[in-house]
Symmetry: C2
């Protein structure tokens, strides 16, 4: 049983929880909680280490067996230490180190007639997690992220996504604007959501599918990205609020495109 | 200039920020930041005290004049003390104590043909703030809250609402289920959003307006509340995610009803 913070695995885990740079270096990330660890195990993601407390193993025997069977190595951790390293206020006693999923490629094929969501410079991990969760629930075929979005492997994003991070195909585009521009040129319908000079989303025929672009919480999409798109679309605002929260806007936009 | 935490007004302000019980007792709440204080002043809400730093007064002279002109009393606070009492990480130097708006009544008239959103036991202040903001942006005619929702005057809710809390009519229903039941009996179309035995929201004709009910983040609406409604509606899920985040679901539901 591991009881000390000085243990090498514990030191690695703590750093994977807190540092995006370290996650990129190690190509690993941490997911915590019974549901998320099971979601990861079921998705086929590679588990390099499974950390658990005795109490949790006894409380969730089925999940314990499933996750153990998919893990390279398993380690019992003392209750006290688990609480110390956990990122949540009431830890459930399960934590897995996963290999990052191979999502850095831009060679992934965007298909005609399918529906995608593309995010430029989304900064709030709660928004990103919620958008991933919504995208999966509404049946999006994939998410495209600009490189400057917050890290999808941040614990808050993984948690907020309710496991969608393990299941929804994600592409991280090195040069986002250029990538969108290429899609538009190849005949994919790319829609920039922006309040300026845009068509009412209710007037758009989405039967050809396409890519819905959503921009940064404060500044929206960059002008050059808007210009690289097939069309500009907007959600009609009626009240005095000048804008919607990014995750609420994304929910409505994805709904309009996919339903 | 106030420099001490022992000042009576400062003690009151700190307690209003942290305690829902104290807010109810005093019938006051705190809003912070240039935009929110201005929104409150413009909405006609009563400002019992305006706290500002010299730097902020010089940086935002127009807002400073407007807010001062609407405030019963104004107080300069030292930069150091302002930072200490502020609920935000980068305080802008404006803070107002508002009288709570008269929203405890259930006598407010729900009109036919109009659109309302009703929330039962929403617990997350970020969700509540986002729902208020979305409701205003989409033009809802009012929000009905069950008494066990989190307090709308919590700083995180006020901030997340982007000022909508000052402008959207809110009713807090003492007996929520009973209130909804009365509405249904009086011919108002009340819609319970629930995944069970519900009609696809795309098949509903919302031309008569009505009330869209959204339940608790983990448990949804109570059975007795669902039974008190005119109809059950659901958002069709396609992915493995079993549910949407409450604020994302609310955005789609309000959009379907109001657009």
């Amino acid at each position: 049983m591991i009881t000390s913070r000085d243990n090498e695995l514990i030191k690695e885990t703590v750093k994977l929880i807190s540092s995006a740079k370290f996650r990129r270096e190690k190509q690993k990330f941490v997911a915590e909680g019974v549901r998320l660890c099971r979601d990861g195990a079921e998705s086929g993601a590679e588990i390099t280490a499974f950390l658990f407390t005795q109490t949790a193993a006894e409380k969730y025997p089925q999940d314990f067996r499933l996750i153990s069977s998919k893990s390279e190595k398993i380690y019992e951790v003392s209750e006290k230490l688990f609480k110390q390293i956990s990122d949540t206020t009431s830890p459930q006693g399960f934590m897995c180190l996963f290999k990052t999923l191979d999502k850095q490629t831009t060679s992934y094929k965007i298909s005609n007639k399918k529906c995608y969501t593309a995010l430029e410079n989304i900064q709030d991990p709660s928004n990103l997690g919620t958008i991933l969760r919504t995208a999966e629930a509404l049946g999006t075929d994939g998410i495209i992220l600009s490189k400057d979005c917050c890290d999808i492997y941040m614990p808050k994003v993984v948690r907020g996504s309710m496991g969608a991070v393990f299941r929804v195909p994600v592409i991280i585009a090195g040069n986002f604007t250029e990538y969108i521009s290429q899609l538009t040129k190849s005949g994919i319908k790319t829609y920039a959501s922006t309040p300026h000079n845009a068509e009412n989303i209710n007037d758009i025929d989405f039967s050809d599918g396409g890519v819905m672009l959503i921009g940064n919480e404060g500044n929206g999409l960059k002008d050059e990205t808007i210009n690289a798109c097939f069309k500009r679309v907007k959600i009609l605002m009626k009240g005095r609020a000048e804008s919607l929260n990014a995750a609420a806007a994304a929910a409505i936009l994805m709904w309009c495109m996919q339903s």
